[in-house]
Symmetry: C2
Subunit: 429 residues, 2 copies
């Protein structure tokens, strides 16, 4: 808020700058990055599980064989060879596509930014799950979209709720620009759209003529089954699919992509060009080399094992330690558990006290455009080792116990945090 | 144009998508990339002059010592150590700044995109030199700015013209959001803002209370003198400075930056976060390692020598070969010569015939928002070897000779290219 008080440029900004506000909980998370705090907040993949020396050798080899290409500008659409390999990766989820229909982006975040830039005028409606990915809310706010949430349950986005929302909007004469959905191992709720619902969701979008933006960062990180068939596999005209190597290889490369119908893809390339000219040739060629020479399917299996073990550590600890009244889901993959607090507790107000107890999480409010979510919080099990996860849950359980006691004794848990929309920083994806 | 005809999504796009139109000359440039064509079109630095094997060793070492950091998410503002090093680089141009005031971006193109995103509402006026950087025009169009050009001459932006433009806009009740200027070795005109004009330009902007966006990609690539003192060195409150390592190290790393007053910097970080979450840690740490361990000042001197030799090859060939009526400037640094054609010739109409003669350039129309520039073209000497430059100029001279003959004989040079704004692709920066 400091920057607003002292901002002598305030009357010069574009209207969209009003959507660019710092998160109130950002300062808290700076504290949360201290080593004594167990962070169950961030969505950082455990990249140390990669063969770092091999990646280093690969980089050296790339520089000696194709250095002049790796250091040069590249087309805004991205490396053609990499785009073909991306098709192979997506084939695991049932997608048949051509590399021509792909735009390589700076992580899937940029893909989402470009899609929003292309479609959203100020005031346009975008549909998103409740809760939804915090980074998507930031992008939608930056382009002045009005986010209308659609509930999800243990089987993902609720078709009936989607139908009702679309019908209601239609009576208001409003057509959403698209439905943004994370069908697999959703961030933050950890739920997966049931197979039986997938055709239904597509059908509803067809009926109401709404585009889907399918964000599938976690689809290959399932613990119990082969990758699920994605929505894009059954509708190439209505679905814009966003993918990324941030979770299956490494986020520091910033290589993601959008797969879109040709007319949209052409616009996305132009949008990418005006945004960044072109993405890094070096990191694109590194990913290409990695996919061509490393056993990447095996490495993804390693990640699955690693994250399954951490999920189990978290679920076992929650089961053993959390006080009555807390509920949570059992994610089948991905990084996140969504925990609902006992009635009367407030995840946002509790956050500073949790950090004082040396454990960090993301309050549920970060994942809603409308300030709701105080009854819940997101826990990540991707980065800390199992023993640290258990210690973190122990501290969280003690924090919640104490809140319950305070509530029972005084009728309140203490000072409430101020209201407003939270938007944690990029270290918290 | 094909994509517009067949675009069934046309009624869904945001209004800003109308500014995202493919360049008519894009197809030509696909042809121009054939090996038999001498391309004097692209602004690609000659990265083969870098010690590629050393860079490869550096990358391998980075991965074995800091691999887990290099592959992880990073803060949206960028690596703190790199930001301090950027201050050292900018000190060469007279800037005193703190790393806190820097945002690392995906090349300076993203810095410009974020600045435009932050300040420009649809219909807002942005001032830019005539001609100006083609990538800036793309970004301004994407955010629906109205570009008002201010003439430049051999000594750069003309102060009197700036004053007149601002006075005229003021009588219309319009305040430009900023003046976008490339003061050193301008792209595309190759001219440099005279030292005596710098304080005057700053003074005019102060009088009319206009921000400056100073894009200085080429400032360290002067051939004849120490780096010039930049505008930002004398006004930290009014100038947003954009820098990049694309020309002094390599564009394939996509590491650029914005230096801005604290309040604006804070907003730019939020904008960057919603655009891409964070930039590549790997490429940022590679630049950091390069600056820390390589003799980068010497390497820049090597680049200066290399480009000076190529400039001389181009100027000597132009002098020896171009028909009467052609005029051009003598750039003191950077990558570009701006050539004005004899009266009656049309650089855009001539482009396909030049390519048929196996030489490519960028028609002047690419560098104006208003379709002017048919009388001129941009030649780049950065990438081809001197002998290729001489051959390219030879072919260009023959093309122009032929046009002059056609004009003299038939009163026209042949089929005119269709009208409209050109915007070459990212391979042509």
């Amino acid at each position: 808020m400091e920057s607003r008080r002292n901002d002598s440029y305030l009357d010069r900004y574009a209207a969209r700058a009003q959507g660019m506000v710092p998160s109130e909980i950002r300062a808290l998370f700076a504290v949360a990055s201290r080593p004594e705090v167990v962070s169950l907040a961030g969505g950082m993949p455990y990249v140390s599980a990669l063969p770092l020396d091999l990646v280093g050798d690969m980089a050296a080899r790339l520089m000696s064989t194709r250095g002049a290409d790796a250091l040069q500008y590249m087309s805004a659409q991205g490396d053609p060879g990499l785009r073909e390999q991306i098709c192979e990766v997506m084939a695991l989820e049932g997608i048949q596509a051509s590399g021509d229909d792909i735009v390589v982006t700076v992580g899937s975040q940029q893909a989402l930014d470009l899609v929003t830039r292309l479609f959203v005028d100020p005031g346009d409606v975008v549909l998103a799950e409740a809760p939804t990915y915090v980074g998507a809310l930031g992008t939608f706010a930056a382009f002045q979209a009005e986010v209308v949430h659609v509930p999800l349950d243990a089987a993902g986005l609720v078709p009936e709720a989607l139908r009702e929302t679309l019908a209601r909007l239609k009576t208001q004469g409003r057509t959403p620009k698209f439905l943004y959905t994370v069908p697999n191992f959703q961030n933050p709720a950890g739920v997966t759209l049931a197979v039986r619902r997938r055709a239904e969701i597509l059908g509803i979008c067809q009926t109401y003529d709404v585009l889907l933006v399918e964000d599938n960062a976690y689809g290959l990180l399932g613990f119990d089954s082969e990758p699920l068939r994605v929505l894009r596999a059954d509708d190439a005209e209505r679905v814009i699919y966003l993918g990324t190597f941030s979770k299956t290889i490494a986020p520091g490369l910033r290589v993601g992509w959008a797969l879109a119908p040709p007319a949209i893809r052409a616009k996305l390339v132009l949008a990418a060009e005006s945004a960044i000219l072109s993405h890094s040739a070096l990191t694109q060629l590194l990913v290409r080399e990695y996919l061509a020479t490393q056993p990447w399917r095996e490495q993804i299996k390693n990640f699955q094992e690693l994250y399954r073990e951490r999920r189990d550590a978290m679920l076992d600890s929650l089961e053993a330690l959390m006080p009555a009244g807390c509920t949570w889901n059992r994610p089948g993959g991905g990084f996140y558990v969504w925990l609902t607090l006992p009635e009367g507790l407030d995840s946002k107000a509790m956050a500073p006290r949790a950090i004082a107890n040396r454990v960090a999480y993301v309050p549920g409010t970060g994942f809603f455009a409308d300030g709701s979510g105080r009854d819940a919080l997101r826990l990540s099990y991707c980065f800390p080792a199992p023993e640290r996860i258990r210690e973190g849950v122990r501290r969280l359980a003690a924090t919640v116990e104490h809140e319950i006691t305070m509530l029972g004794t005084f009728g309140t848990t203490g000072t409430q945090a101020s209201t407003g929309v939270d938007r944690p920083g990029s270290d918290l994806t």
